[in-house]
Subunit: 225 residues, 2 copies
């Protein structure tokens, strides 16, 4: 009863004082790492507390329960990604320019947080609804996906890019961008390289992917030299 009231007050204070410095963020970062490492059910609250350098009581002092903590971490994973995707695909530019901007943006983000896609896709497959009821439909404006698909079709009709199923094109682009961060252990075995060499490969990935896509998709321009 009074518990709920105290919580409300506390939440207001917290969101107002944008200076959530150490402890709360330490916990969130620790939680992300532990959730990624062990999965949502494999993660232990004690482990999160240890990793954050605090104790379990304080953990529950800031975050009511495991589920809530997980949701926060999960939505955080999209808070950076989705808005960027929206702005890229709904903005100006040719199909190839948008693809290039997407590859660059997503790659930069994933190199900073390589464990994210495994975490996100894993939990998304476990509960797809969470994705739908999360950030995705809280974005302002219509999703740019339909618009972008039509744009692809138009450029195909105009002979700017090779004719193919637009969805296959998009699938290929996203696959080549994201999969290396998911299949790392297997790919390292197949490609016979260690973690260092793998990271170097990822660094050069943007150019590699774009050349590959352009060769596959771009038609030799007939008008100018």
């Amino acid at each position: 009863m009074s518990n709920v009231h105290l919580l409300t007050i506390w939440l207001n204070v917290m969101s107002k004082s944008e200076l959530d410095l150490s402890s709360k963020e330490k916990i969130l970062n620790a939680a992300r790492r532990v959730f990624i490492r062990n999965g949502s059910s494999g993660a232990r609250m004690q482990e999160i507390a240890d990793e954050a350098g605090i104790n379990k009581a304080l953990l529950h002092y800031y975050f009511r329960n495991k589920e809530g903590l997980f949701d926060l971490v999960f939505n955080d994973a999209f808070s950076e990604f989705i808005p960027k995707i929206y702005s890229i695909f709904s903005g100006d530019g040719s199909v190839m320019e948008k693809i290039e901007r997407y590859v660059e943006t997503h790659l930069d983000l994933l190199i900073k947080k390589p464990d994210l896609p495994m975490f996100v896709l894993n939990e998304m497959q476990r509960d797809p609804e969470r994705f739908f009821s999360g950030i995705l439909n809280k974005m302002p404006g219509a999703p740019p996906f339909e618009f972008f698909l039509k744009q692809i079709e138009e450029e195909m009709k105009d002979g700017k890019i090779r004719t193919m199923n637009p969805r296959d094109l998009w699938m290929n682009v996203m696959s080549m961008t994201v999969f290396p961060f998911i299949g790392e252990p297997m790919l390292k075995k197949f490609l016979i390289i260690n973690s260092e060499e793998y990271r170097i490969l990822l660094t050069k990935r943007k150019e590699s992917i774009m050349i590959f896509i352009k060769q596959a998709v771009l038609l030799p321009t007939p008008n100018n030299a």
Copy 2:
């Protein structure tokens, strides 16, 4: 003490009478589904028993513990995949022929068991050693990966395929083949299609991928028409 002995006898009997009909296989299939659905730590023995249509006692009657059951399921996932990969990449044929055989083979397998890659890659990232100490190094003969990488380099020198980092090529091929089975929930949202349409897309994927790769990689043959 006598427990171990009984177990040994029981194992022999079991492996000899290759007629493990219903119950054992029912359990294994159920286990795979539950492990995929909930992850290794999220899976409950009771749930596996329920899904298999038997009870927990019988489950432990056939499989000592959760860990052993999981290992069986995990290795089963590779028992079909790895040998095929080995035979494709160590066999005869041009780079493009091998890529085509790989895409076709892996795609066929994944369409039958779409949940497998998420399961495998997930647990592989959690414990990469298991993969190394599993089927991979129990295969006869040297791994064909190094050989295939060299074959790619040779064909590039010979001007048969476009020059690029062979590892990037392999990475792209594998990404486009596997990722659609991992990113389904997200891709369905982005591509604005339902599960049925998505499955149709996957069916036509082999041709789509191969055309894409050929355009990206194949040089126009200079000698013949």
